[in-house]
Subunit: 464 residues, 2 copies
């Protein structure tokens, strides 16, 4: 067959197309210049790639992530158990932001939390508390916590408590309210606050008592099972929610609490397939926090969005957030809504992708494409696409459809900048106005600028 | 490219290999003569294929199967609710068989049931009751029932009751005992009988009360969800079991029954991922029984094995069982066991494959290959392989990994004989001796002889 031209083409596919057009065969390698051709970043990259200090630091950080054993231990009161939260602070998702600059749903949720706490009796007074500085806001991530969408957590709220049995670090997250009109999408009407009070007074004690009697629930084996049952454990948590319920119900029954309260609690959880999401997020944060703070490591330890900015934290990046404008998600919108109605990307839930699940484990969840778009084969392709930008595989979290290989995990800032492959995130989409709620879901990407900034930080720090 | 030989080869692949060896290209079509070349069967086949009476009958039967809506309604006592069972009869799986000829596990289970009923106080006396004809055995299928493995059901046992809301036909099945030493594998020791008594006196009332308060559980939507959650609902029922539990627990809690009983019942179910199997089987039988009895229809309405013979029933085949020797399954054996330890194929659970799930829906369950062997891509290939021998798709039971297409369902005797593609079955493997239990699992095939006999019956009946 020596009369046929066989070509490997790297970069622009139009060259390959020309070869094929002339009767030859061409394999096209989807390549682009590192950092989109930015010379400064390219130089920083070349000093960090194959750098032994960075490689060793990454191995340490990645091993800590792999070895983590998050255990769900109980429910506490946020103001009592979150480190340095205080009694007049409200936590939000994503990197730091001034309260004046937050997006619609976050603003609505902050006001809702002030009303829920009883610090003000109407929205104007609540707003005045923010203006006067009597009530402050701060990222969940600065208090060992995470929250989906607006992520709003105030001192009286019940929070899940997760401990990494290997390392001892603790993480926290609020309880999932379900879909529809809920605080995390900025709703703050009476029924929303009533539900939050019921969660505080009935649901939380039932769960806490059941957890105490269970001796704690090991989360990684539960999450591994859920990956075998069609969850990617970010936007699909149907299996994980059921598995958690199955473990807790017998203990709840033996708690001596009123049967009607237990039945109400179980029905609330059974009616909300997203209930496990927050637990998944706290588990992921526990796995990643322990990997944070290894000098020179280029492993990403958090991705989070506040509805205005997208921020990442890196193991060797100290307390710095590397931020860029949050993208608006071009996803599947519910009937009557479009991308013009959407708030920019929002929530701490991208901690799941940072830990190798969610969008990174889409291949485990062919059914998720009905929610976020695409086809089951796209889902498989997307999981594979994440392999080149990660440090390795998490063999405690495997994916049957990929021949039981571990999920790709440990995003390496260097590899993202080098390949131009951006971490993907399965996400819900909030309406830009407070209280409308979820209007869609889709797949988005972390902005490259976060990673180039982190790369520069790491390079400067390496030379310092 | 006119210098290359391009060939489509039908049948023996060695011809295609020769073309390829000479530098040409050959697509091989895996074809074999209908009925393995048997002329009599071939003639019967040619009179039935494209026969309008058969086609119309199949459309009627298949539509009845598709329209069925099985609802789990409660728990009854077998002797009270099963049609014509009587008080001295023990039901077994598969086609009819004399008690002297049953395999080891079925014999052990029959003896166990006699002891459980208190008809005899030791094994010798139990055996004498069989010899004297005081106690008789009969297939589950003859009493609107199904049972996994030995399938043994005696009058005092609690049975699930399923009603097809479209059609009104009712089906029944015993309750799943879990794995290990259990009656359905022929174990009959004191602890096995004690567990059965607990199931009768504690578990069954809790489930019955919860079901009564729930108003019944619609099974097809539940099974559809389970297919999205990695079950094929025959050998993997982890999701379906959890979904059933989630629906029943709040009702059980409000039943007024003792909390400890409810907690024990929930823990028993939560600890047995196969618990839903029996319910799945009764649901499948309800969908298929309503399709039975359409004159001239060549749709298979039951496949079942008694550990000696494999039998099928066909919609237009009346009460006739078309049987052949049950194969021994070449599957994945647990450590210490091999195919020489295995009983031949056993149990009514192939009713699931007859209804288009189990082996036919393996593509929904990549994790099942760890249990029955093969790779996830084999699982997908096997679901696709069943398409040519079925009447259509069941769009109420869809498979995400196959782009949400309905499962292939309604096995057509004509198509099996014509293509030589034998229906596949995911199955557990019992030890040939009573009471050892499950020693493996694997994939087996229905014997061709069952289908050729059915074909001959249909042809004779058509001409009669």
């Amino acid at each position: 067959m020596s009369d046929t031209l066989n070509v490997i083409n790297i970069g622009l596919s139009s060259f390959a197309d020309a070869v094929a057009g002339a009767g030859g065969t061409a394999v096209n390698v989807n390549w682009r210049p590192p950092a989109d051709g930015n010379v400064t970043i390219g130089k920083a990259l070349s000093s960090l790639v194959h750098n032994q200090s960075v490689d060793q630091a990454n191995q340490i950080a990645f091993d800590k992530y792999l070895n983590a054993q998050p255990v769900l231990e109980g429910i506490g009161r946020a103001g009592d158990v979150l480190p340095n939260m205080g009694e007049r602070c409200i936590l939000h998702s994503g990197p730091p932001i001034d309260w004046q600059n937050v997006c619609g749903p976050v603003h609505g949720a902050i006001i809702g939390a002030i009303l829920y706490e009883g610090w003000a009796s109407d929205k104007n007074s609540a707003e005045n508390l923010l203006k006067s500085g009597e009530v402050t806001i701060d990222p969940c991530h600065h208090h060992a916590a995470v929250g989906p969408m607006a992520g709003i957590t105030s001192p009286s709220m019940p929070v899940w408590m997760v401990t990494n049995a290997i390392g001892g670090n603790k993480t926290f997250t609020n309880l999932n309210e379900g879909l529809g009109k809920v605080l995390r999408f900025g709703a703050n009407s009476f029924d929303v606050l009533e539900r939050l009070k019921w969660m505080q007074t009935i649901l939380a004690p039932v769960l806490n008592e059941a957890l105490a009697r269970s001796g704690g629930v090991e989360l990684k084996p539960l999450m591994a099972k859920a990956l075998y049952m069609g969850d990617e454990i970010h936007n699909r948590n149907a299996a994980a929610t059921g598995l958690l319920l199955k473990q807790l119900v017998p203990h709840a029954l033996r708690s001596g609490l009123p049967n009607d309260d237990i039945a109400d609690a179980i029905e609330f959880i059974a009616g909300n397939d997203h209930f496990f999401l927050n637990v998944s997020m706290a588990a992921c944060k526990a796995m990643l926090d322990v990997a944070h703070g290894v000098p020179h490591s280029s492993m990403v330890t958090a991705m989070a969005r506040n509805g205005v900015e997208f921020g990442i934290r890196v193991s060797g990046g100290g307390d710095t957030w590397f931020t860029a404008p949050a993208p608006v998600v071009d996803g599947l919108y519910f009937p009557g809504y479009s991308i013009t109605d959407a708030a920019p990307d929002l929530g701490d839930s991208a901690i799941t992708e940072t830990a190798g699940i969610g969008g990174f484990a889409m291949a485990a969840s062919p059914a998720i494409v009905q929610f976020v778009g695409g086809t089951p084969s796209d889902a498989i392709a997307r999981s594979k696409e994440m392999v080149p930008i990660t440090l390795g595989r998490n063999n405690a979290l495997t994916i049957p459809a990929l021949n039981f290989s571990g999920t790709a995990a440990g995003i390496d800032v260097r590899k993202v900048v080098d390949t131009g492959i951006l971490p993907l995130i399965n996400t819900g989409i909030a309406h830009k106005d407070a209280g409308v709620g979820q209007i869609g879901a889709g797949i988005t990407r972390a902005p490259l600028a976060c990673f180039t900034q982190a790369l520069e930080y790491l390079q400067e720090n390496l030379n310092a």
